[in-house]
């Protein structure tokens, strides 16, 4: 139950059967029902065949159908461990929050840090600037990779940064450099948080922002290590919840 998207994943006999996604919009509960129904339909599974449902994410407490919920942090650790057992640090950056989780070889949480509710350290910042520059979000990330120059962003707030972006545009700064400045700014905040939990072994990035190549690049540079994005990175939380639901239904 993310702030932007609701994701549903069905897991059966050790593998993922189906993944569905709905925009949360203004009625996240209805969106959740819709995504759930779609998942069942696509998998051809009857509702009564689903043994257990767990929710995670910002709206996990209100999730329809769920019998219980687990935190985003536990879900991330468990989910990533299933796919990439060598990862010990999972970074989860969504629209509204960033998290860094240190996990054990068995997918348990060892330590974590959360950067809550400040758009300057989360995906919403990218969206706001992309909108101000009138560049589609998908392009914004790629644009950033074309930049040849690191320009600093002084504002530490997404709102004040918007005015800074406006003056950069007036000063004829290429959009690609602005895009990189924004990604570098968010990444530097996430990097500082990740360092507080520590890095050992492989590092993975999940959450909505993981499909933004500009951010992945900025984060890898900032952490001075290669950051891997798993396939279906947005669904890692849901996968973790499904795995834990499975363990607890036996």
């Amino acid at each position: 139950m993310g702030a932007k998207f609701i994701k549903v994943l069905l897991f059966k006999d050790g593998r993922v059967v189906v993944r569905t996604r709905e925009e949360a919009g203004f009625e996240p509960l209805a969106a959740a029902e819709k995504a759930y129904a779609a998942a069942l339909a696509q998998a051809g599974v009857a509702e009564s065949d689903v043994q257990n449902v767990f929710a995670t994410g910002a709206g996990r407490k209100n999730a329809p159908r769920a019998k219980d919920s687990i935190t985003e942090v536990s879900a991330a650790a468990r989910g990533i461990n299933h796919l990439m057992p060598n990862v010990r640090t999972v970074i989860d950056v969504g629209a509204e929050e960033g998290r860094a989780v240190k996990c054990s070889a068995t997918g348990k949480v060892d330590d974590f840090a959360i950067n809550e509710k400040c758009a300057a350290g989360a995906g919403s910042f990218t969206e706001a600037v992309a909108r101000a520059l009138e560049v589609p979000l998908e392009e914004f990330g790629r644009l950033s990779l074309q930049s040849s120059k690191a320009i600093p962003m002084n504002a530490q707030c997404a709102v004040f940064a918007e005015s800074e972006v406006v003056s950069l545009v007036h000063a004829k700064t290429p959009k690609s450099d602005i895009a990189r400045a924004v990604h570098d700014a968010i990444a530097s905040r996430i990097v500082s948080m990740v360092r507080r939990v520590g890095i050992n072994n492989d590092v993975a990035l999940i959450g909505g922002v993981s499909n933004n190549p500009g951010f992945v690049d900025a984060l890898s540079r900032g952490l001075e290590t290669n950051v891997t994005v798993p396939e279906h990175a947005e669904f890692i939380g849901a996968l973790g919840a499904a795995l834990i639901a499975g363990e607890r239904s036996n």
Partner: protein, 93 residues
């Protein structure tokens, strides 16, 4: 005077407080060299007292700049606080 440098945003409150009345009496200003990121400087303030302050370019990101000194678990004593023998420095987080 209690000088609070830092900020409050959606993620919390992050202030470094310098009690300048204690700081004035300090002859060595150990904080300046103790801080690994060089956040402190000695200034002559508006009342002509020589005191420590957080540099302007760090004030809006103390949470991030202090990150290395504040691991999530097993946080050691903060270098600035330890170095400040008059006990003028405190952190809100």
């Amino acid at each position: 005077m209690k000088a609070n440098y830092g900020y409050m945003d959606g993620s919390g409150e992050f202030f470094i407080t310098i009690d300048t009345d204690s700081c004035i009496a300090c002859g060595h200003h150990g904080c300046v060299s103790a801080c690994p990121v060089g956040m402190f400087e000695i200034i002559v303030d508006d009342y002509d007292d020589e005191v420590a302050a957080i540099k302007g370019d760090h004030r809006k990101k103390v949470k991030y700049d202090c990150g290395p000194c504040k691991p999530v678990s097993d946080r050691p004593p903060l270098p600035c606080v330890t170095a400040c023998t008059p006990g003028a420095i405190s952190h809100s987080w």
